[in-house]
Amino acid sequence: MLDAEFFRRWMTATAASVDREAERLTALDSPIGDADHGSNLQRGFTAVVTALEKEAPDTPGAVLTLAGRRLISTVGGASGPLYGTLLRRTGKALGDAAEVTEEQFTDALRAGVDAVMALGGAAPGDKTMIDALVPAVDALAESFGAAKTAAEEGAVATTPLQARKGRASYLGERSIGHQDPGATSSSLLIGALMEARDE
């Protein structure tokens, strides 16, 4: 079973991972974006960790809902509402249970990913975070490790794609050959699930 403490560790591990990889995310965002993905997410997840330390919500749903709200408020770029919606909708889908099963979490995360697709209008293959999140959710039924691998492979697989959403879409064919920064940061979020359990 996964409790509120697990989800707090997930957010903390994500923040640490984003800290470590911020420069790489921004470097990926330089040729096809506006070179702020790393610093934007760093600001957002730092705010999430601060908020969780202060408020200490006691259910999985409340942890993720709070995290989502903080991301929407603090990120400043499109990744704020997108990641914010992902976590908030996942949290809402978990309801107010004190503990949830991995199956319940998988279903809730799928609802969150669906909400992100609805918000941004992106589908798999558009070279966005969806290309990491959809295979990750599919693999989550197997294990956290399988989800991590699927997300990382999904992020790498965005490289030959042409962007159809966001600023990168203005570049047309010039977006081809660059790994998508949003799919890459999504693989960090999914990868942090394993760290949250190992602690």
Partner: protein
């Protein structure tokens, strides 16, 4: 444009969200100036991030919407990407924007002028939204 102001004279509020504080403020000034008249509908600019950078601030958007809410609804116009997504996410949140707030699908500058002129004539939210959206149909070439 056909509606007359109701008895309490409550204007629809307009919020202009841009990635740039200067763009949002200038478009607000342009739209208010072109609306002319003695009294114009309340317009608030929510441009850039809280620290003055380029981007979108949910905080500034919520504050701007609250500042123009007179009870007749709030029309929110945006420029690009994260501005659109942030407003949609705030609307989905439910309690971050005044009741009867709406993201209006319109070109930013032309839509803002149409929205402010229409709202200042006392039109309701649906009429303001329609006027702003109609700006899309004006072709320039």
């Amino acid at each position: 444009m056909s509606e007359s102001p109701d008895s309490t004279n409550q204007f629809v509020g307009i919020v202009l969200v841009s990635h740039s504080a200067a763009v949002a403020a200038s478009v607000a000034e342009l739209a208010t100036g072109l609306a002319g008249g003695e009294t114009t509908a309340p317009v608030a600019a929510a441009g850039g991030t809280v620290d003055g950078g380029l981007g979108t601030s949910a905080e500034l958007i919520s504050a701007a919407a609250a500042s123009v809410d007179r009870g007749a609804g709030v029309a929110v116009l945006t420029d690009l990407g994260s501005a659109v997504l942030t407003v949609k996410a705030l609307l989905a949140e439910g309690d971050e924007l005044p009741a009867n707030s709406r993201l209006v699908d319109a070109p930013f500058v032309e839509g803002a002028v149409a929205a402010v002129v229409t709202a200042s004539a006392g039109a309701d939210l649906a009429a303001v939204e329609a006027a702003a959206a109609e700006a899309y149909t004006y072709r320039k070439a």
